[in-house]
Amino acid sequence: MNGAERLLAACRREAVDVTPAWFMRQAGGSLPGYLRLRERHSLMEIAKTPALCAEVTCGAVEALGVDGAVLFADVMLPIEAMGVALELSAEGPLIAEPIRNHEDVARLREVDVAADLGFVLQAISLSRRELGDRAAVIGICGGPFTLAAYLIEGGPSRDQLLARAFMHRDPETWHALMTRIADVSADYVAAQVAAGAQVIQVFDSWAGSLSARDYQAFVALHAARVLAAVAESVPVIHFAAGSSAILESLAAAGGSVIGVDSRQPLGEAWRRIGYERAIQGNLDPARLLAGWESTAEGARDVLAEAECRPGHVFNLGHAAPRDADPALLRDLVSLIHDESAAARNALPTQLAAARG
């Protein structure tokens, strides 16, 4: 199987030769080609120049041997297209004038994805052409809670207190904002698929700061709209960090694959969402900072949790640390491929037939 077939099959819970692997934030980081580009271009220049963006996106596949090529794009690009000035810092996006009230929401611009975010779509087409079947092109979109939280907080924050306070203080404006974000996001993911994205990941990274009750009341319907926009055409990965308290609600909102971080044992999370979903995860990125032995040990634990069931996409539990050693990531992909093949071969024949 080539990388694209492998990743798509796993997302659909079909048989695979080996477990597919890719990493959140694999493009960029410490990859040598990327570091050379960054000497001459800002983050935004790379993200907005299709040829450069495709180069970084595909460079990760070359360098790491991953089965998925996640688009090198910031989740805030559609927010910028809505007329919000932002700056990308090492800590994350920073917004000088966060959303405070209904007037601020009303001021958000309509987005014409083809015109305003055409560079993303072109980068997808270029990446697809460049990669062929070596890896599946993964389009991305921030989840509605996460985007709203950035807009309200003005930047990254620990528990998204301002955003959660906003939803309680003014539920009407909250839903108006979420509706606007979901409108744009739904168009954005649909356009990415039309441009050639073979998988979409919706990163609702921060939804884990909510209780299940609040997720259902304030987020679920908006997330469901975004996820449903492309659910008929491509596999959709629905990811949130620290989602142990909301896992069932998150899965109920949609996603053919549910992405979990390292705080939940993968096996337990899979039982909770049900085996009719695929699952993605969940090596602790901190392992990469602890060296190869710790990385390998953690990766084997994740494979053991997945029990060779069809429908496991290997990933980190969260974004790769920016200073992660590319050689370590490459070795990790090899380990996942080699050892998952060996584990499949070792399965009793009947089980192997069932699990591919």
Binding site: P156, R158, D159, L161, R164, A165, M167, H168, R169, D170, P171, G208, S209, L210, S211, A212, R213, D214, G242, S244, A245, I246, S262, R263, Q264, P265, D284, P285, A286, R287, L288, L289, A290, G291, S294, E297, G298, D301, H318, P321
Partner: protein, 344 residues
């Protein structure tokens, strides 16, 4: 003496559910902000009269059932030789984060009287004035270690977790030093008069259950058993985002398990049925219309379902923007909604 808080910690029947708030003394109160205009955090903590005054403010204004000593979780760290700066809006900053075994070995041993003498005097002053129990507290070692290793607040605690799995010897050595410090610090608080203690493991939620069990639980176990051997006050074991960790946290210790708003209190309690439970209204709910906050508080109470052993609290600290009147109404709501009908 109003002892419903201590009774609830012991899971004894109470006349009404006790309520207090994490960070009840602090920026939400105008009388606190006035003091902060003339004194820094460190100055308040070091001055027994000021510290006692600030600790008393919420008891007077809000009618809570317990006072919590005003201090910062990093307060004792000076005693082992770590300089901490508290930056407004950022939190603790540590100029030279700990990354090596040599740095761990260079930490001094903790002497409570020398490091936090003012705070201990404040406790003595407070016991003479308070009509409600006084809670002492400390940061749990993993949370303190996250500041020491990361140098600042770091969601995900990546470096600390990297140290934990990559250099367990250094990690364990650091945790051991912090356990020793924390035991000494809490013993001194109890000797001076605090009537309960809370351990804040605010960053433990960054761990998987497996990592917690392997790398943190043994240290927490040693901490709680060292406390149990020498002090006889209820212990509250609190962490945020601990939905995956409740069982091992409870195994490690704590008469009361404190949970944040992410998890339904009833579900949390089912998982640690032999403990009292503290929580867990979302502090963000208090920034909305009163009725919405009241509804959510009612939901928390319905989750507790009148079982003995519920201490009402927020799921995390009071937010500075909170209207003190909302806090006061919340205290009254909890009391009125749970007042026991006398047996005739």
């Amino acid at each position: 003496m109003n002892d419903r808080f201590l009774r609830a910690c012991r899971r004894e029947p109470v006349d009404a559910t006790p309520v207090w708030f994490m960070r009840q003394a602090g920026r939400a109160l105008p009388e606190y902000r006035r003091i902060r205009e003339r004194a820094t955090l460190h100055e308040i903590i070091r001055d027994p009269a000021l510290c006692a005054e600030v600790t008393l403010q919420p008891v007077t204004r809000l009618g809570v059932d317990a006072a919590i000593l005003f201090a910062d979780i990093t307060t004792p760290l000076g005693g082992i030789g770590v300089d901490v700066e508290i930056a407004d809006g950022i939190g603790p900053l540590i100029a030279e984060p700990i990354r090596t075994r040599a740095q761990v070995d260079a930490l001094r041993s903790f002497d409570a009287a020398e490091t936090v003498g003012g705070l201990l005097d404040a406790i003595r002053l407070l016991r003479g004035e308070l009509e409600v129990p006084l809670i002492g507290f400390a940061g749990a070692p993993f949370t303190l270690a996250s500041y020491l290793v990361e140098g600042r607040s770091a969601p995900g605690a990546l470096r600390l977790k990297g140290l934990m799995s990559g250099d367990p010897g250094t990690f364990d050595a650091l945790m051991e030093r912090l356990v020793d410090m924390t035991v000494g610090y809490l013993r001194a608080q109890v000797a001076a008069g605090v009537q309960a203690v809370q351990l804040f493991d605010s960053w433990a939620g960054a761990l998987s259950p497996f990592d917690y069990q392997r790398s943190v639980e043994p240290h927490m176990r040693r901490l709680f058993s060292a406390l149990a051997a020498t002090i006889d006050v209820p212990t509250i074991h609190f962490g945020t985002a601990t939905g995956g960790l409740l069982e091992p946290m409870a195994r490690a210790g704590g008469d009361v398990i404190g949970v944040d708003w992410r998890i339904a209190l009833g579900e949390a309690w089912e998982r640690v049925p032999d403990r009292a439970i503290q929580g867990n209204l979302d502090p963000a709910a208090l920034l909305g219309p009163w009725q919405a906050a009241a509804d959510q508080a009612g939901w928390v109470l319905s989750q507790a379902a009148g079982r003995p052993g519920h201490v009402f609290n927020l799921g995390h600290g009071v937010l500075p923007e909170t209207d003190p009147d909302s806090l006061k109404r919340l205290v009254d709501l909890v009391h009125e909604a749970t007042v026991a009908v006398p047996v005739s």
